[in-house]
Subunit: 555 residues, 2 copies
Amino acid sequence: MATKTSTNGTHHSLPEYIPNRIPDPHYVRILDTTLRDGEQAPGAAMTSDQKLQIARQLAKLGVDVIEGGFPSASQEDFNAVKMIAQEVGNNCDADGYVPVIAALCRCNERDITRAWEALKYAKRPRLMPFIAVSPIHMEYKLNKTKEEVLQIATDMIKFARGLGCTDIQFCSEDAARSDREFLYQILEEVIKAGATTLGIGDTVGITMPFEIRELVAGIKANVPGAENVIISIHCHNDLGHATANTIEAARAGAMQLEVTINGIGERAGNASLEEVVMALKCRGDHVLGGLYTGINTRHLLKTSKMVEEFSGMYLQPHKAVVGDNAFLHESGVHQAGLLKHRGTYEILSPEDIGHEKSNGVNMVLGKLSGRQALKSRLKELGYELRDEEVESVFRNFKAIAEKKKRVTDVDLKALVSDQASHAEPIWKLGGLQVTCGTMGSSTATIKLVTSDGSTHVACSVGVGPVDSAYKAINLIVKETVKVLEYSPSTVTGGTDAIATTRVVIRRENKQSPTPALNGNVIYPTFSGTGEGVDIVTSSVEAYITALNKMLDSKE
Amino acid sequence: MATKTSTNGTHHSLPEYIPNRIPDPHYVRILDTTLRDGEQAPGAAMTSDQKLQIARQLAKLGVDVIEGGFPSASQEDFNAVKMIAQEVGNNCDADGYVPVIAALCRCNERDITRAWEALKYAKRPRLMPFIAVSPIHMEYKLNKTKEEVLQIATDMIKFARGLGCTDIQFCSEDAARSDREFLYQILEEVIKAGATTLGIGDTVGITMPFEIRELVAGIKANVPGAENVIISIHCHNDLGHATANTIEAARAGAMQLEVTINGIGERAGNASLEEVVMALKCRGDHVLGGLYTGINTRHLLKTSKMVEEFSGMYLQPHKAVVGDNAFLHESGVHQAGLLKHRGTYEILSPEDIGHEKSNGVNMVLGKLSGRQALKSRLKELGYELRDEEVESVFRNFKAIAEKKKRVTDVDLKALVSDQASHAEPIWKLGGLQVTCGTMGSSTATIKLVTSDGSTHVACSVGVGPVDSAYKAINLIVKETVKVLEYSPSTVTGGTDAIATTRVVIRRENKQSPTPALNGNVIYPTFSGTGEGVDIVTSSVEAYITALNKMLDSKE
């Protein structure tokens, strides 16, 4: 038995992996289907390489079962599952943990054989044959009778067994809308045929928690042999109930939960791993009968960001647990309470999901924030400044806070870098001419003047006027610069009003990062602002200001 | 009694409004707190005018109670509540419906008086004094004993009554973590003091559905007088349970549900109106004991978009009910099922929440889609094209699908406009060339094409590239236009990323303003957005879109 820190923060032994039973009655398995059902989200297609990277991250997270894909869907899906099975499915950690690698397949010999070809390299391969069991699906989609569906299911479980697979999850699609007597019957038969896990799908996300409870309890009570297999629940979020339904199923005895990172998936998505896991972590010992998972929650944030980036499914700021605002407090009443006791408004700690160590509370810095709040945040970011330095940063902070609703950490880091540089500008704008429009690309000619008076001219094309101008500047300055943020301001009152443009940059490569107090590294970032009626010229001025600060900061 | 189409699609009589009871035991009130708790989301601050617009929309939606703000928080909040009370709070529709206008206040005389000053103009004003009732909040935040809190609460309910307010909701903050005996006691006393609604808060979003059930049932069973008032539930989403908890509370007898549009709010937000309402609509008659609301769900999508825009809290594509993907199907298995019977994978109909009428199923058009899928979607959008026209659109569609993961209806409409000259826009951009820089002024040459194919060219100088381009357009269009707002978006990740520009305009002079009910005048405004890597071109496209809307609106 391996040991791991459980979601509840206490050390549990990780129970031995046996397909059809869990030695510890409180341990709940997590099956992650980000790579299969998550990827079915419109527009979320990922490459094989991205899937492999996510699978590695899921293993770090301690996911029990990684559903890697649907090998019959395409050659690329097949390759992804095979790569994951070969690498991640064989990578035992020091505690003996290695994830089960699973793959979906329809109930036909071709699909099952194909899935097995991809999976068989894993140390713990699991086949997941599925078939719909609701009247509407059987009649309209499958055009088959109950008896036919029952026969196909049992035949195919036996076929999968015959391939040598001993870990088989039978997935009953649309089980939530099934006729219960038929559901009990087909589940009984697939257990007899050799299934070790029963997947129960609320495929259309229609179920309420008390119904899920009845569904799972009904299976336990009415399916002979159910006590010898694992019941798994698979919930969709069409009515906003996926997380609650998943937790309720666990309470009722479903010891495997099927979830996706960030809750991505077809339509409104699946139950979200981070919400389910954090609900169990936060309430498991108190009101959920001691249920716990093996997930190392400190990897949640990183995993979430990776999936967000690869899938292109961007999260709303108020996404529970992993959204940008999940731990932010803005109202005065809340901030006042938090400063007295974090527990007044905080039930989870940001560090638990992998946010940088924070000693204080996560309050939004805005125009009402004072020096102490600023200083405290700067310290958390790793800056130890003298009082007069704080004062200088504070003045600039107030100026920015007047214009932006929310001053971010990126802004703060730039402010600190800004106040450290005092030198004369190295480059000044001598002249600019830009042509742009619907011809497709834009051309900029730029003249920069150095402090000794020499002039340099360059031109570049780019995808727009700002892009071409920045590229022309880079040709002169000969630096590789990454633009982290480009913020033209909103102007009320017309296009001839003064607009402020702000840009935040950092050096690409080269620069050795500064180690911060908390052990993380800080890449110095630099900001510049430009003001004027011409948005292109003000963007260029902002960039040159930021560049001068960056060049000045050479260590 | 007024009649309305309920969420279940059947005509119910809208029950008469009586603060402390609902004549129909199945009717659930919806209190929307988008303008108060929603606005507390970091970065979501809105202007008074935006709040008024949202309040008007909430009234169209049929929200029972609009919580307009927290008048003591700021002068602007006070003004917003007062404006809403004066206009929306007096605007009875033909059925006699007018929303209750409510405002939050702390339990002190100054706050309550201030809230009443703002509210009293409404036909149905409601005061919402709140105080925390959990041990951790009373000890650390309030630094008060139970006895003190009890005394303050009852005194302040009496004080509110004394001002002449007969509709009072006592809000018990952090009730979910309260000592139950104390909670029952304080609720009993505030009922005696004159409270007509009991607000029960799960302020930190920690509760599981079965706990919410026990909480509400406990109050009903243990608070003398509870049968004579309305129990209201207020859930937060920190563990992803807000929607399920809200529905479960309704099942247990909480006949008012506190929600926000899009679920926005502090941290992970509040229970989301559209999820709660659609769950009741979809399951109310079947498994939720016939519960129904008065919400006209066909306004949901529009309301959601308005709040998204004004608050800047953008939704993830898989947001339930109102997310871009909520009704989209991508996987082959699902599309095959849907084409046979919509019910296989669709439990809500997109039209129910205000999507354009669709005869087919909502499948994602992407690079794998064929001519038939495109043709079918175009037909749904109202375009009847000849085969060669479809072919031309199809070629452009493929080109876009290579660049974008997903081709939207907006894209399709634009594609049709591109090739079919009989489409809506009056003016189209034929070409643009802009020169700008440090010479001082900028020059733009623009070519516009009318719907009959004639082209018009003009040039103008201006103070910047956008100003000169807009002036050149005005020379052709011959309209005097006021640009109210010009908003280029912030781009994270560089100057070659896609940026969206938005512009809001109105006619200068000429146009006779529409008199509003409150005697103020409304100038129609029109917005347009443009997207692209070139900020100048996208600004011009945004302007032309807005102009076309303006010209099209001529009475």
